[in-house]
Amino acid sequence: MLLRNREELRKARSVYAESLEKQRLKILVCAGTGCMAGGSPAIRDRLLALLRERNIACAVTLEKEPHGADVGIKQSGCHGFCEMGPLLRFEPQGWLYIRVTPDDCEEIVEKTVVNGEHIPRLAYRADAGVFERQDDIPFYRKQTRLVLEHCGQIDATSIEEYLAVGGYSAFEKALFEMSGDAIIDEVSRAALRGRGGGGFPTGRKWMQVKRQKATPKYLVCNGDEGDPGAFMDRSIMEGDPHRMLEGMMIAGFAAGASEGYIYVRAEYPTAVQRLRVAIRQACDFGLLGDNILGSGFDFGIRINRGAGAFVCGEGSALTASIEGKRGMPRVKPPRTVEQGLFAKPTVLNNVETFANVPQIILRGSDWYTGIGTKNSPGTKAFALTGNIVNTGLIEVPMGTTLGEVIFDIGGGIRGDAGFKAVQIGGPSGGCLTGEHLTLPLDFDSLKKVGAMVGSGGLVVMDDRTCMVEVARFFMNFTQNESCGKCVPCREGTKRMLAVLEGIVSGNGREGDIELLLELADTVSATALCGLGKAAASPVVSTVKYFREEYEEHIRNKRCPAGTCQKLKRLRIDPALCKGCSLCVKTCPAGAVTGEKKQPHTLNTDLCLRCGACIPVCRFHAVVEE
């Protein structure tokens, strides 16, 4: 349906709103990557089949002329509570069913759809009892979902539903009631800062591009979310693609760009597919293309898929990759706002930043600055992963403390282990420890303690995690992903990795820590791009907070967390050993000796710590310590 002017857009919005309103019951089947892997498409198919069997009128798309379909079945974006998936939400009740299987569908249709009954068996349970409504669950109660407000609430593949809940109102307002300067002014007063990690003021960036004389100007959305342990942007692209497109359109209009690009990781096929659908829908509705809604503004958006290079998350590498080149950063200046894509002025923001824009335009900067902290207004989405009870995607006001996120929302540490640290900001970030539980999570507070918001990955680690191994893991990642253009990063990460590998395998030497810090200093001072400069952050931060763990590895060849395989010591428990001598036959080093039917002994000097004796012992007499 091509919308030719503002009135037609408004009309369409009210028609779809009415159509949505008339659905007596809405079933939102989570179609985030998590729940889809857990089998949510099969649940949706089963529900549809059962409803058809019973002749219950159900709609999978919103009708142009509302007849009042009884039940609406929707593929929603990620609800965030991935740990409990596949998830099913019912509107208007607000009920949430967890860990649903196709076998549950019969009962769901019978009880919930036909009789309107709640099924307690499928609801979330905690110590306090059964939680019927999604919003009452502790995981959700402490969150403020602005950017993610539609994720899990509307169909992620439908522009009609997005319009029905007021979609593209902000774009409409920007297009017909505001000038480019006024938009930029509003975003600047809202003090929106880049959600990709750096926290650069978004309004200032747009203004710098607008002021450039060169044409054409480009707009690029960075969806190359490469940090291990981060999936906020993925959930936005998959769960509410139109909101991000709307933000891009507003930015394009404000900065005077007519072409937009979205660069998405190749590892996110669902996001690519949903964005393709969303762009096609926006074109069909006349919200993208030439002379949009008769305003005279032309704008188009294309998708570029990444090809598996972490460094392409860096601005100049990303634009090089769109140009069809090797994705390697270049020396700056000139900056991206001056000479970005195809050497033209370019607005480059990440997914979450664009997704923040529509509400700022619609509700104003005064409203926005009322959320979060003074210098970091608004909310931030975080991906909560690792050794935590409630893995998932959350959104909280900036300035929420680390403790609230981990214990109140995340539900604390898995199992009976204790909290040790949180790795924040991925391979460029640092770790936070018990002393930071009261630290507010915002751009400036985190910077002060040597960490960063980064893209928003929070990997929680319990006290069985070895911090030296964590540093090695990140260095291995960065070393693999180093593009090799500048020597400090290419060689420096290699050297740091070699030292760290030595330490975790028991070959650490006195002076290694100092060597690591010296290398870290040099690399961060001299590397070409932000990724290289921050490559050593995990090392510096783990040394800062867990220096004694490094020292224990180096001096006593012992891993306090007991995870470094090469530093494990094996021993035979004489009380359990029956002297069957199976371990003697298995040991490649001849380290186990003893007479038959007598408890054996293991010579730790000969032991290779390969662990081959552990599974062969039927009496569990080989102990690791």
Binding site: T33, C82, A307, F310, I322, K325, L393
Partner: protein
């Protein structure tokens, strides 16, 4: 140009993406999708089509991790070793699959071209850690035993399809 090679597929892909330098990556992606790797024959042909040097195409193809100059297996298994999967023990899964399939860090594809085993830095499905994917389908909360079982059933599926 290799006369034996059928360039009609490549022609279609080039036309679909546009004969320009900025399309090189998407062209290579489509070619790889079709052949499951980048056949050597396409390099001079593609260089000619978008008017750049063969070296330039080669430099792009070797920079990005997703491109492979070696044929890949029918099933590309990617074990996620992102932070979240790593702390939930993804390495034992990788080791089990390597031993099941007779593969190693160097040798990633089985001789019968049925399986390619790779690691990936993060699939963004951390809530389901540890995960692996087979041709982009995500398998959640994998254990070494589940992984062995999966490979076994994929092999049966392939034999079945062949028969």
């Amino acid at each position: 140009m290799n006369r034996e090679f059928d360039y009609s597929v490549v022609d279609g892909i080039i036309d679909g993406n546009g004969r320009k330098i900025s399309s090189v990556i998407s062209i290579l992606q489509d070619i790889q999708e079709h052949y499951r790797y980048l056949p050597r024959e396409i390099f001079p042909y593609l260089a000619d089509a978008v008017a750049v040097s063969e070296a330039r195409i080669y430099s792009v193809a070797t920079f990005y991790e997703n491109f492979s100059l070696e044929p890949k297996g029918l099933y590309v298994v990617k074990v996620c070793d992102g932070t979240a999967c790593h702390v939930r023990r993804s390495i034992p899964i990788l080791n089990r699959l390597r031993s099941d399939l007779g593969l190693s860090e160097r040798k990633v594809t089985t001789d019968d071209l049925l399986f390619t085993l790779e690691t990936v830095s993060c699939l963004g499905a951390c809530g389901l850690a540890p995960v692996l994917t087979v041709n982009d389908k995500v398998y959640p909360a994998v254990t070494p035993d589940k992984a062995s079982q999966l490979v076994k059933s994929l092999r049966e599926e392939a034999t079945h399809a062949a028969a």
